[in-house]
Symmetry: C2
Subunit: 337 residues, 2 copies
DNA sequence: CTGAAAGCGCTTACAG
DNA sequence: CTGAAAGCGCTTACAG
């Protein structure tokens, strides 16, 4: 226990000042790069910081500057599961993005429909929030707007007050995907999608069908498969992988495409040769599929960086120059088409 | 932007005091449940808190009490991936456990082998740390011990200074599993394991073989498969699922058991009828296996609660009553045996 | 049971 | 370029 209770004496800024023979104020200036000191002073101060092992007290700094250097990430527990491939990739990038701007990430997990959502979101005193998986009528941005807490979100909102969003253009993203399929010679199409009311579900469907129409093509209604993952898992073989099947199957997400891919393989069909399969997201999966999946890559890292930067701009009161920003997607061609 | 910049005036404790007609001190006492007030005062104060929308300034409280109410979770980025089924389940439970004790969770992702590990771990000013995936010679506990920062860990360490660990007894956990297999009549065994030097890898192997020996049984060396997930994926069929195969395959983890299960199914073998398969961890997977996997359940929630409680006890200076604690595992019998 | 004073460790004006 | 003073908003002794 001895080592455990080390309790080494706390070094304060005035100890460093004393050691360096300057005032606390000067130490503060050096540490916060405020200018107003000679290079020689700077060196002396830094040497003293090193020697004394000084580490600024965050609470004191926070009290004075009114900045916690904490960014909140709202991550309802349900989204932190191995089934949420995209969420996990996104969370990881947000953590890294926050680290790059020298802040700390605080994770909140209150369910979106909790009656305490407001209180819990406001309690931790973070400088701002990152939200994602935000639907058009999500209650969270409103809570933060009303409380005057800065935030940025990956997604979009209906309310024009809700600004500072970062998103991808789901419909537009389907254009190069469909063009690619048409170019490869595929002419009959199936579509696999979640049966939810998310706007991205809607937009991907509309983007795909519109672009197919542009080519004079369409998705045959009998090859449209909607449902939960479990339902799709069950129905994909009979509906889409029998002898009378489409040449290509467009899936709303990689998670769904993975199911189709696995089931196709199990039926003895080789994706890319016997049937084309496409996904959407292009994030790492539990096992890489073979042949690899053609998909639409969401620039997760860029989104995370943009969202975090947006929060900080808002915190700093830098005029938010945009209501929202679309980031470009990229077609990732694999062996499955 | 108007709504966005709401900037409502900050309510301080003295505003509440004024509203309630008491001193700031009394408001503080009520809010922190320090006794020393009448029930009537209490009600008046709480009403004023409600009316004014007061929310304590965390920085000020932290500066005064020297508690941030922040608990750090060190989660190197590599562990936050869909392949790390167990890590994801554990992180989720830690977040919830921290929330239950009314603290906030800060996530740090510095790689374990980073030269800045010390500095980054100490920078955020958390009250204490939760560590997991800790190996016997892990550098992290030492860093925290030396800095006098409280922590608790899921895992174990060699250094006797490193106390406050919570773990399961991997070897003991294998006893009921092996007994179950023997009881079901299985007499020939294969074993699938990672090729790493983690102590749990070692302990599970020893636990299984020792208990088999107790029954006068053993794992045939030609049915021992060691390697990375990719290697196991490739070799499991030829080594363990051919005509000359063991009756039962014990796997070090659910992740490996999943591979074996999928491959067995692909070979036309029905787990539980044609070959028995067991895992270890019993956390949710991307897709539930069918038949379900017999496995050893790690009490993830209990572990998370215990680790968080241990950190707080340490923070509060409550004597750490134990060097370490083993939590019990439970055999979860599924259809795969 | 309640109040006035002091102080946690910084940084932000303000003087020199 | 550097220093002495004030104050951020709480809570912790200390008096009454």
């Amino acid at each position: 226990m001895t080592a455990r209770r080390a309790q080494r004496p706390v070094v304060r800024i005035r100890d460093v000042a004393q050691d360096a023979g300057v005032s606390p104020q000067t130490v503060s200036n050096v540490l916060n790069d405020q200018g107003r000191f000679t290079e020689e002073t700077r060196a002396r101060v830094l040497a003293s910081v090193e020697r004394t092992g000084y580490r600024p007290n965050r609470a004191a700094r926070q009290l004075r500057t009114r900045r916690s250097r904490l960014i909140g990430l709202h991550l309802p527990a349900a989204q932190l599961s191995v089934s949420n491939t995209f969420s996990i990739a996104f969370v990881r990038e947000v953590i890294e993005a926050v680290r790059r701007v020298d802040h700390q990430l605080v994770v909140l997990t209150t369910p979106v429909d909790s009656p305490d959502l407001d209180a819990e979101l406001l309690a931790p005193g973070v400088d701002g929030y990152v939200l994602f998986n935000v639907g058009l009528d999500d209650p969270r941005p409103r809570v933060l707007v009303d409380a005057g807490v800065p935030y940025a979100l990956f997604g979009r909102a209906l309310d024009p007050d809700i600004q500072g969003w970062i998103d991808i253009d789901n419909a537009a993203a389907m254009t190069p995907l469909v063009d690619h399929l048409v170019e490869r010679g595929y002419r009959t199409f199936g579509y696999v999608t979640y049966d939810d009311d998310a706007y991205w579900t809607q937009e991907r469907w509309e983007g795909a069908t519109a672009r197919l129409a542009h080519h004079g093509l369409a998705i045959d209604p009998r090859w449209l498969l909607r449902g939960t993952e479990a339902e799709i898992r069950e129905n994909v073989a009979p509906v889409l992988l029998g002898p009378d099947r489409p040449e290509a199957i467009i899936c709303e997400s990689d998670a769904l495409a993975e199911i189709v891919h696995v089931m196709a393989t199990r039926q003895g069909l080789l994706p890319g040769r016997d049937v084309a399969i496409t996904g959407f997201d292009a994030v790492p999966m539990r096992f890489e599929l073979e042949p690899s999946l053609t998909s639409v890559a969401i620039p997760v890292r860029e989104v995370a960086d943009a969202v975090v930067r947006q929060v900080l701009d808002e915190v700093d009161g830098a005029a938010a120059p945009t209501a929202g920003t679309f980031l470009p997607t990229r077609l990732a061609v694999g062996g499955s088409t």
